[in-house]
């Protein structure tokens, strides 16, 4: 099977852009990715475009050129971008296309995600009585995890401080003001033990990746980034997942992150010990802590020491969310995972500027998690 490589990346800044439609942000990201790859839009043979808010993101062709390209819309919750890149890669791997694009764009209103529970197959009373909040799940999951594995409130604050600090070095990030551990611990509790500055917010932005066959990459770039594997898994019965009015009693089943991660490592022939830089879903500071273990990057409870030592900072042994992660960038759902890959590509190229990790990183890892209990993992290498 042919391998897919990334030859171009483009990122529209994440944040708030009043008056600018999501499709325009997407078009900007695509043009940056095309320019980075040295490719023209008419050369693109197929693609996948993901969004949560835009019903027909494939309408972007009217901005880019009506070339007749097959562009398929993707809608897969928080794993939307992971799905887009997986499908764009698969189209190359199976020989359908030689040159593809993965695009993500979104423009969310301010504040916590609000929706009619019925769209998630959940009864109305669950929303009416104040249970239908994704933030509850994150608060409850990290509260239990702290109880079981000895994670402190300071560690949560250190994660947030790190990500805001990294975002301050990223001109395309949304939250670029560094915050101290003390400032974060002084912010109001939203969902115990999580505080205001420990949560990411929905926002706006777009990202795009140009992919081609590995054996043709030399035509475009000297530094292709290989897509070693992609994996997506939904929740299994017994897993503790977001928006669950109940779940079965007994041994708690592993999260879909654990399942997707294992599959991705196996397919890549790469182990957690080989990962040089990681981008993990940090919907909140607790999620980053938990996801370190769920993605095999440490054992449960080791985070307390690793984070105190600075292991996950730029310059540490295992840098996590070098571009500021979701805490620093916010979450335009359709674009979020492509933003993660954009950062890994820069890091593996040695082109991440002020936030470049030291040495010669060879393997990068990205991970998404969200409603209704779905995880996507992508493993990349030079």
């Amino acid at each position: 099977m042919t391998e897919a490589v990334i030859i171009g990346v483009g990122l529209h800044p994440f944040g708030r852009f009043p008056g600018k439609p999501a499709l325009d942000m997407g078009a900007d990201a695509v043009r940056l990715a095309l320019a980075d790859a040295g490719v023209n839009w008419p050369q693109i043979q197929g693609g996948y475009i993901g969004s949560y808010e835009v019903a027909n993101p494939d309408a972007i062709v009217a901005r880019l050129g009506l070339t007749g390209v097959p562009l398929r819309g993707v809608f897969n919750g928080c794993a939307t971008a992971g799905t887009s890149v997986a499908l764009a890669a698969r189209a190359i791997e199976t020989g359908e296309h030689d040159l593809t694009i993965a695009i993500g764009l979104d423009k969310h209103p301010r504040g916590a995600f609000a929706a009619d529970p019925s769209v998630a197959g959940i009864p109305s009373w669950y929303g009416q009585t104040g249970l239908f909040l994704t933030t509850h799940f994150f608060g409850m999951k990290i509260n239990r995890y702290m109880h079981d594995h000895g994670i402190s409130h300071e560690t949560l604050a250190r994660v947030a401080a790190k990500n805001f600090g990294n975002a301050a070095r990223n001109e395309k990030a949304w939250r670029r003001t560094p915050l101290s551990v003390a400032e974060i611990l002084a912010s109001p509790v939203l969902n115990h033990p999580l505080r205001q500055y420990m949560y990411c917010g929905p926002d706006e932005g777009a990202a795009a990746l140009v992919l081609c066959r590995a054996d043709q990459a030399h035509r475009y770039t000297g530094k292709p980034v290989r897509i070693r594997s992609t994996a997506l898994r939904s929740r299994r019965l017994g897993a503790f997942e977001v928006q669950s009015p109940s779940f079965p009693v007994g041994e708690v089943v592993a999260s879909p992150t654990v399942d997707a991660s294992r599959e991705a490592y196996e397919r890549a022939g790469i182990g957690p010990e080989d990962v040089d830089v990681a981008q993990l879903q940090d919907t909140d500071a607790g999620s980053e802590v938990i996801h370190m273990a769920e993605n095999g990057l440490c054992k449960d409870g080791e985070q307390e020491r690793l984070i105190a030592e600075g292991a996950t900072e730029i310059g540490g042994r295992l840098p996590v969310n070098t571009d500021g992660g979701l805490l620093g960038n916010g979450e335009p759902i359709g674009a979020s995972g492509l933003r993660q890959i954009h950062e890994i590509v820069l890091q593996l190229r040695g082109a991440a500027g002020d936030r470049q990790i030291p040495g010669t990183p060879r393997v990068g890892y990205t991970h998404l998690y969200g409603a209704p209990g779905v995880s996507a993992v992508t493993i990349l290498s030079t």
């Binding site: 529970p117 104040g130 249970l131 509850h136 239990r144 509790v189 033990p193 009015p245 109940s246 779940f247």
Partner: protein
């Protein structure tokens, strides 16, 4: 004045609870594999059977985890009072049955602890314009009963 109460939804808990029908959550049990579900569901997510029977769930359990809600949730879907009072939510493990998510009567996280005994109760989470209280199920720390 007598306050009228109505349940937030039919079929969620026994209503009206009295001495002959004490307050219980109404779940279901798959007739093929025995999986217990709440709210009651005809479709089984374990064995894909579409046959189930009603099962009233245990009224006591232990707190598996919890969090607090310190800001007013987006409305809709939330339809609690405009004057927001923080509340807590958690998962209560009903032994041999399931873990159920519920509001907790104790809003202070310092007074909650994983593993503590909890008991089913009702809370009027909203008052309609005509004074009718809308009630939903909740769990209260059970230790309070034994000084």
């Amino acid at each position: 004045m007598t306050t009228t109460q109505i349940p937030v939804a039919e079929g969620l808990f026994t209503w009206p609870p009295d001495e002959s029908t004490p307050l219980r959550l109404i779940g279901s049990e798959c007739t093929a594999c025995g999986l217990v579900s709440f709210p009651a569901a005809s479709d089984c997510v374990r064995c894909a059977s579409t046959e189930s029977k009603e099962r009233l769930l245990a009224e006591r359990g232990t707190l598996w985890t919890y969090t607090t809600q310190d800001f007013r949730p987006p409305s809709p879907p939330y339809d609690g009072p405009e004057a927001f009072e923080p509340y807590a939510v958690g998962y209560i493990e009903l032994p041999g049955e399931l873990l159920v998510e519920a509001r907790l009567t104790e809003p202070d996280p310092d007074k909650l602890r994983i593993g503590q005994d909890m008991r089913l109760t009702l809370v009027p989470y909203r008052v309609q314009d005509d004074g009718t209280e809308v009630v939903t199920f909740a769990f209260a720390p059970a230790e309070e009963e034994t000084p």
